[in-house]
C-alpha cells in the first residue's frame, strides 16, 4: 500500500498498482492510469464502459465482470477486447479505479 500523487490528487494504491479506494477516483486519474497501461487516449467508447463500471460498482458493491458489461452496458464482447486489449476485465477495472472483478464469468 502506498500513497501517490496522480494528476494533483492523492490516492492510495496497492502493491500491484490498483487503487484501493474507489472514492478517490476521478476522470483525470482515469486518463493517467490508462496511459500507464498503453491506452493513450480514452475514447467515448472507453468512457461508456468506465461510467457503467463506476455506476454498477456503486450499486452492487463489486466490480462487474466482462460478461456483465457486455450484456448490461450493451458493449459487445469483441469491442471490449479491442478497447482494453488482452486482459479487458482487469484493465477496465484498473482504469476505473475499482478492484479486479471477483466473478468467473
Amino acid at each position: 500500500m502506498a500513497s501517490v500523487n496522480i494528476a494533483g490528487h492523492e490516492v492510495q494504491i496497492n502493491e500491484e498498482g490498483f487503487m484501493t479506494d474507489p472514492s478517490e477516483w476521478n476522470e483525470d486519474i482515469a486518463g493517467f492510469l490508462a496511459g500507464q497501461i498503453g491506452i493513450d487516449a480514452l475514447t467515448e467508447e472507453h468512457w461508456k464502459v468506465i461510467r457503467f463500471l463506476r455506476e454498477d460498482y456503486a450499486e452492487q458493491g463489486e466490480t462487474a465482470t466482462l460478461r456483465r458489461v457486455s450484456t448490461s452496458a450493451g458493449v459487445p464482447t469483441k469491442q471490449l477486447y479491442e478497447l482494453f486489449p488482452k486482459k479487458p476485465a482487469r484493465k477496465m477495472a484498473y482504469v476505473s479505479g475499482l478492484p479486479k472483478p471477483k466473478g468467473c464469468v
Binding site: 494504491i13 492510469l33 466482462l66 460478461r67 477486447y81 484498473y94
Partner: protein, 175 residues
C-alpha cells in the same frame, strides 16, 4: 508527457505472454459443457490463446440440433442429491420418466441464477472473445455429420495431427 509520480507502480499485465490453452471437450452433458467454457472464458480474459476441440459426445455442444438441448441425468450419478440435502438420489427414482428433464431444468435455472449464460450464448461469448472452436474429424465421420451440422462459431473439422500442431507448447486439458 506526464511524468510518473513518486511511488507509483503500474500493474504488470504481461501483455507479451504467449500462454495458450487447449481444451478437449469429450462429453456432451449439460454439466460437462460448462467446465470447458468457463476455463476458456477465464483464459481469454487472461489474454491467452484458446482452442476448444470437440470430440465424441462433446460434439453435442456444438451441434445445431443439440446445443440448446443438453441435459444432465441423475442416473449413474452418485453425486446427485435430493433438493440440496445430503441424501443421495435413489438410482431407481432417477430413472423415472421426466427425472432427467427435471434435473436439467433445475441446473439451467441455477446457472442462470448466478448470471452465467446458457451454453449457446456462452459459446458466442467465448468465440467473440477470440476462442477457436474445432470439431474432431474422426468423431464427425463416425457420427455421419458434416460442417453444416455445426453452429457458425465452429471454424473447421480437423484431425488429431492438426490439433497437436495447434496445441504445441500449450496447456492441454481433457474434459
Amino acid at each position: 508527457m506526464t511524468t510518473t509520480p513518486e511511488g507509483f507502480v503500474a500493474p504488470d499485465f504481461d501483455d507479451d505472454s504467449d500462454r495458450k490453452l487447449c481444451l478437449i471437450c469429450s462429453k456432451g452433458t449439460l454439466d460437462m459443457a460448462y467446465p470447458g467454457l468457463i476455463l476458456a472464458n477465464g483464459a481469454l480474459e487472461e489474454g491467452m490463446e484458446v482452442h476448444l476441440f470437440f470430440t465424441f459426445w462433446g460434439l453435442d455442444i456444438i451441434r445445431k440440433k443439440t446445443v440448446d438441448k443438453l441435459t444432465v441425468t441423475p442416473v449413474g450419478n452418485t453425486a446427485m442429491r435430493i433438493g440440496g440435502t445430503s441424501l443421495a438420489m435413489p438410482q431407481l427414482l432417477g430413472a423415472l420418466p421426466g427425472m432427467s428433464s427435471m434435473a436439467s431444468w433445475m441446473m439451467k435455472r441455477k446457472i442462470a441464477g448466478i448470471d452465467v449464460p446458457a451454453v449457446r450464448d456462452f459459446i458466442t461469448h467465448v468465440a467473440d472473445a477470440g476462442a477457436h472452436l474445432w470439431a474432431c474429424k474422426m468423431s464427425v465421420d463416425m457420427m455421419g455429420l458434416s460442417d453444416d451440422d455445426f453452429i457458425d462459431e465452429v471454424e473447421e473439422t480437423i484431425n488429431v495431427t492438426r490439433f497437436l500442431e495447434l496445441s504445441e507448447s500449450a496447456q492441454v486439458l481433457f474434459i
